[in-house]
């Protein structure tokens, strides 16, 4: 094969051993953006960011980056950061091969086509997968003809064209889905299916998300694992809370109790994660001096966060958690008999869900109307929880809800939730800062002053969010939103 290209003018260099690892986030963000990030370790560490019809970028690094902030500031980092944000870069498939590069040059020495020959390609630690050889022809912009000609030469010697690039072939051989794990709240549902069947299908899907994020939350691979674990837990709890007359009590009650415990066990670590993620946004507006003075506070938060994650890991590895999830999976995996089922288990799913969503919506309206300027913060927080539960119900059963009214309705609900979220985050962070004050007695006076400034700033955010609540809630509690809601419910209730 090389001979045919050599005869066409390609000059190949000597084969060199190349070990390359395709890295991406857990949810395949680079792959979804049409990019592939390789970590090459043949001579030093080199990152190669490429893709189909994408100009490749190369960067030599001293250490293998785990998160984007491990890279030096610059365009390479900015480009990746805009896609992966806080997610960790994880190895997808590690491949070793003999690589030689063939260049076709024109009369002035300009490269006009590139051939990359990969021989003895094999996946590291997978001796069960056969080695193979592949050759890639790369078109050089401005010289399309030469690449086409090279492809024809290879076809002429009987080679078959493959749509996947070499690393994608390796990933496919190793059963690695480069699209990564993407949690969805809902699954295909029909309004006339039995309520228990529909609800179980949703719960199975949520359990997949819980399991997928479990180990990453323990290992602290990145903060999104814990976030997604908590979302899946909350959605599960919301669906369970709405299934009292559908799921047998002997299953429902221990599951609700156990999942409530798990949710509590994950709370402190997530609150501190959020605080640290928001830290820069909180402190930057205070100025460089204050940000420096607040470093001891951040150190304390980092320590608290580490402690909280330690506790979390302990809880997730505990016998109680293992038994809970084993029992939960067992029920989800087994067929359910028809004996002894609660009265509404066989009701049409649409009607059952419509009833629950309607109840949650009315509760939110009723409770929201009671909120005034002097309402205690705890009541505002309860309203936020009500809004979240309603949103989760809609998300989990969205596949049978009509798209347009759902989107219109969720937009208003989301606006209300954003406002309630800003208020609650500020409330939690103020209270956390106050609780840290005793730990800062040894810090200098500047730190204490800066903490005061930060609390004041958070207090302003909290007050502003509270002042805005009436307007946000009025938008939600409006005839327009009600019309969207009615259309949403009507579609599945009848």
């Amino acid at each position: 094969m090389v001979g045919s290209l050599t005869e066409s003018g390609f000059v190949f260099d000597q084969p060199r051993t190349l070990t390359t690892t395709l890295v991406d986030t857990f949810d395949g963000r680079l792959h979804r953006a049409g990019l592939r990030l390789e970590l090459r370790t043949s001579a030093g560490i080199e990152l190669v960011l490429s893709g189909d019809d994408v100009v490749p970028a190369h960067l030599s690094v001293d250490v293998v980056p785990r998160v984007v902030t491990d890279l030096a500031p610059g365009p390479f980092r900015s480009r990746i950061a805009s896609l992966i944000d806080i997610r960790a870069l994880l190895p997808q498939v590690r491949v070793r091969m003999e690589r030689s590069v063939g260049l076709l040059r024109d009369g002035s020495g300009k490269t006009v086509a590139i051939a990359e020959l990969y021989e003895h390609v094999h996946i590291v630690d997978r001796p069960d997968i056969d080695r193979f050889t592949t050759i890639e022809i790369h078109e050089v912009p401005g010289y399309a003809k030469q690449a086409r000609r090279a492809r024809r030469v290879l076809q002429g010697v009987g080679l078959e064209e493959c749509e996947l690039h070499t690393l994608a072939q390796c990933a496919a051989a190793a059963d690695v889905d480069l699209a990564g794990f993407k949690a969805t709240a809902t699954v295909p549902l029909e309004a006339d299916m039995a309520a228990l069947d529909g609800i179980r299908a949703v719960l199975v899907n949520l359990e997949v998300a819980i399991s997928a994020n479990w180990q990453g939350a323990i290992d602290e691979t990145d903060t999104k694992f814990l976030h997604d674990l908590r979302i899946a837990l909350r959605r599960t709890r919301t669906v369970l809370a709405a299934s009292k007359s559908v799921i047998p009590a002997e299953v429902l009650d221990p599951a609700r109790e156990g999942l409530a415990w798990l949710a509590r066990a994950t709370g402190a670590a997530r609150d501190l994660d959020v605080y640290l993620l928001e830290w820069k946004g909180y402190t930057d507006p205070l100025g460089v001096g204050a940000a420096v003075s607040l470093e001891p506070v951040r150190d304390v938060l980092v320590q608290h966060c580490a402690d909280a994650h330690h506790e979390l890991g302990h809880a997730l590895r505990s016998e109680r958690a293992t038994a809970l999830m084993t029992e939960w999976r067992r029920w989800l995996g087994e067929p359910v008999g028809s004996d002894g089922l609660p009265p509404r288990a066989d009701d049409p799913l649409g009607k059952a869900v419509a009833r629950r969503i309607d109840r949650a919506h009315r509760r939110l309206i009723d409770q929201g109307r009671l909120i005034g300027p002097d309402t205690p913060a705890d009541d505002v927080h309860d309203l936020r929880k009500d809004a979240k539960k309603l949103r989760y119900l809609i998300e989990c059963f969205s596949s049978m809800l009509p798209g347009r009214p759902r989107k219109r309705y969720v937009k208003q609900l989301k606006a209300l939730q954003t406002n309630l979220g800003e208020h609650q985050d500020a409330e939690v962070h103020i209270s956390l800062l106050r609780s840290l004050t005793p730990a800062l007695v040894s810090a200098d006076a500047n730190a204490m002053v800066a903490v005061g400034e930060l609390i004041q700033r958070l207090e302003q955010t909290r007050v502003a969010a509270r002042a805005e609540f009436a307007e946000r809630f009025a938008d939600y509690d409006s005839p327009t939103t009600q019309r969207s809601f009615d259309a949403l419910i009507e579609a599945i209730a009848t």
């Binding site: 100009v55 365009p75 002035s108």
Partner: protein
Amino acid sequence: MKVLASYSIKGGVGKTTTAVNLAQQAAASGSRVLLWDLDPQGAATFFVRVKPSVKGGADRLVSTTGSLAANIHATNDPAVHIVPADFSLRHLDLALDDTKHPTRRLAALLEPIADRYDVALLDCAPGITLTSEAVFGAADALIVPTIPTTLSERTLDQLTSFLSEHPPAPMVLPFVSMFDRRKRLQRDIVEHLMADVVGFLPTAIPNASVIEQMNIHRSPIADFAPKSPAAMAYQHLWADIAARIWS
């Protein structure tokens, strides 16, 4: 995409060698680079071994139907592409003058390809012309090679005065080019430039024969003399620029 222009009113100060070597250094630091040769002499095009040809010439390039994408060629560095120059660019001022918004035309041509590259490096012809104004309208920063002579400093003053009178102006990043450390006068001028001129980049590019050898090798210095002081100086110069642009 950040648009940087290797620019000076004065000729023979090392604009093209700066553009070509910085393009290479930017690529080595993880950037996808588009080098745009705006000088009809086409020296940058020559250095990367691409045929000097602009489809339809300068008139078509800057016309409403013109596009940079149609003129892009790869270089021997996979991360560096070039829009080559040809001799028709000697009429670029006239061609721009025929467009509706001449000083915004180069920026408009770059806009559709902004997602494909991290850095566009414009190699400009000397002088202060309508094309220069279009470059100022497109560039985030002007990289200004300044040889350590009194005349060079004077042209830098002319440039900064012009820009201050024609806002919004790009960032000006002057640096010392073709520095001969053996000459006392040059050492004194460099010392003065670094100390007294705001924004002067700390790296000076030496006046080295290896830079002239680019004509023979037809490639950036790092390709044929990667450990040479000149190659290292361009590496540091790019680090200086990147720190200012992406800090």
